[in-house]
Amino acid sequence: MTIITERSKTTTTKAEQALRMYRQMLAIRLFEERVNDLYTRALMPGLAHLYIGEEAVAVGVCEALHKDDYITSTHRGHGHCLAKGASPDRMFAELLGKEAGYCRGKGGSMHIADPATGNLGANAIVAGSVGIATGAAFAAQRLGNGRVAVCFFGEGALGQGSLYEVMNLAQLFKLPVIYVCENNLYTEYTHFSETTAGEILNRATAFGLEAAMVDGQDVRAVHEAGSRLIERARRGEGPGFLLANTYRYTGHHVGDIAREYYRPKAEEQEWKMDRDPIKNLTKWLLEQKLADSVQLSAMESELTAEMDKAVEFAVTAPYPSPEEVEQDVYA
């Protein structure tokens, strides 16, 4: 099997890479703002779990992946999908339950999957995909196709025993899998310190995994740490664990408005003001003179137009016809 590496081949300079990551983070933010809007206007069924604030994690890690590498994702998965290369139009369509969606409307927000971009699927079971990602790494190793698998999950997944089972398996078999823990401080409505004893990184090193912690609001740092673990895994040196400290700006889902009983407004403000991954990178790009604000605004306008078009596409797209309900139960 051949390894598709066009994306990383195009990485000629650090500057290009930083701009690509900037663009990607912005795309996610704009995407999620539209999700919020669609949901609030009652156009989106179900629940919407926004990734706003956490963009640097998905983007920094996926920048280090090849197109045919694998990811698994979570209920808060839009950012991972986009960062791995999914198109906003088909994503919006899926979110609205339309036929043109990635899953023909059958999956919805929490189950977007796409073989073309190596996306094994978002998962609505906390830690539900840790086995899948590990298995994909196992297959990659056995087939010798040079791929790696990245398993994204929130720190809530640290509560699920299956994570420890597969970390043990991954280390025993030296599988090319990286577990990326997005510690956004909260599960649904509970602070992680109330649900997490000991030190998170030790939970990975106890099983022999190579582990690293990183500021999840600094996309360049995420990318660097992610790359190291990914390339190490790709070389056959075994699995890694990346702990990214981050924050979700909005509620657990769009309807989670009155949040003060579980977290102070001041905390939210602080993260938004001082630790925003897009602001951080903007500042750096400008400082380094790798971009100017005109250029960045132009990019934003372009992305905004693209996102609005994608929303338009999804809103006007047709629903699947009722007979489809019985299709695809079996392959």
């Binding site: 059958k106 079971i125 009722p322």
Partner: protein, 331 residues
Amino acid sequence: MPEVAQREVTFAQAIREALAEEMRRDATVCILGEDVAEAGTPFKVLSGLVEEFGKDRVLDTPISEAGFTGMAVGAAMTGLRPVVDIMFGDFITLTMDQMVNQAAKVHYMSGGRWKVPMVMRTTLGATRRSAAQHSQSLHAWFSHVPGLKVVLPSTPYDAKGLLKTAIRDENPVVFFEDKMMYKLKGPVPTEEYTIPLGVADIKREGNDITLVATSSMVQVALGASTLLEKAGISAEVIDPRTTWPLDEKTLIDSAKKTSRVIVIDEGYGRYGVTAEIASVIAEGAFYDLDAPVKRMGAMHVPIPFSPPLEDATVPTENSVFEAARALCNRN
């Protein structure tokens, strides 16, 4: 209950009241689950309990369904009466070993020397646009397991009375709540009351056909019975209220009276609750049935996200009405 003083409460409130009353009555009753304390669960069913009973008796756990269910088994054996909260019925998959290989068997395997007085509260039901991993009705599994009891309340009155009984029961009891029903209002007595497990309730008397319905399907059956009445068909609606113990006599007696039966349950029809109930009736009323017992359950597909697809998967007032009319040969 015409002479009894009544109040109107929601289904959620009925459950909360049952818990609060039992927690006041018995200091060993406690609640374990995710986001059960300050958040009062995502459905707000438990709001206010932590304020009254404190964090020592209403405990937020990590996302460790197997772990805290297992803890409940041990705690129940040694002096507490834990009520565990499994946020969505789909997550019972993670607790099967603790419920089936441990909780259900401890009393028997120990020759009656240990007992496990615990309750698991969880949900069932689709049509919430929650997709395949948050929409299942898996109560058939537990109904299959000797040592467990399984409760499926369909009204605030039943919910409160049955939950109080479940908490006092000396055995592990699984209590399934339809998540679409939490806001449903209904009368409950002002005075304390309990409802025994294993006693079906005739929700409506009739002569031409028996609709046996569980949980979420009781309202559907009652709706259908109104439509049937207009079509000149008198339907009896029976709610078994517990699938185990099962009140076979009431079901069979009704079948003998009406000679036509439809069994409606929101779980999958195949190898599900309707199969058992239909078999019991087909055997017990064999010589009185004028038509085969008909079963209606969820379609044999993972529940799809897309609204027009999802709506096709579950029985509705209309589909039950049509089926009943066809069974009575009146078109």
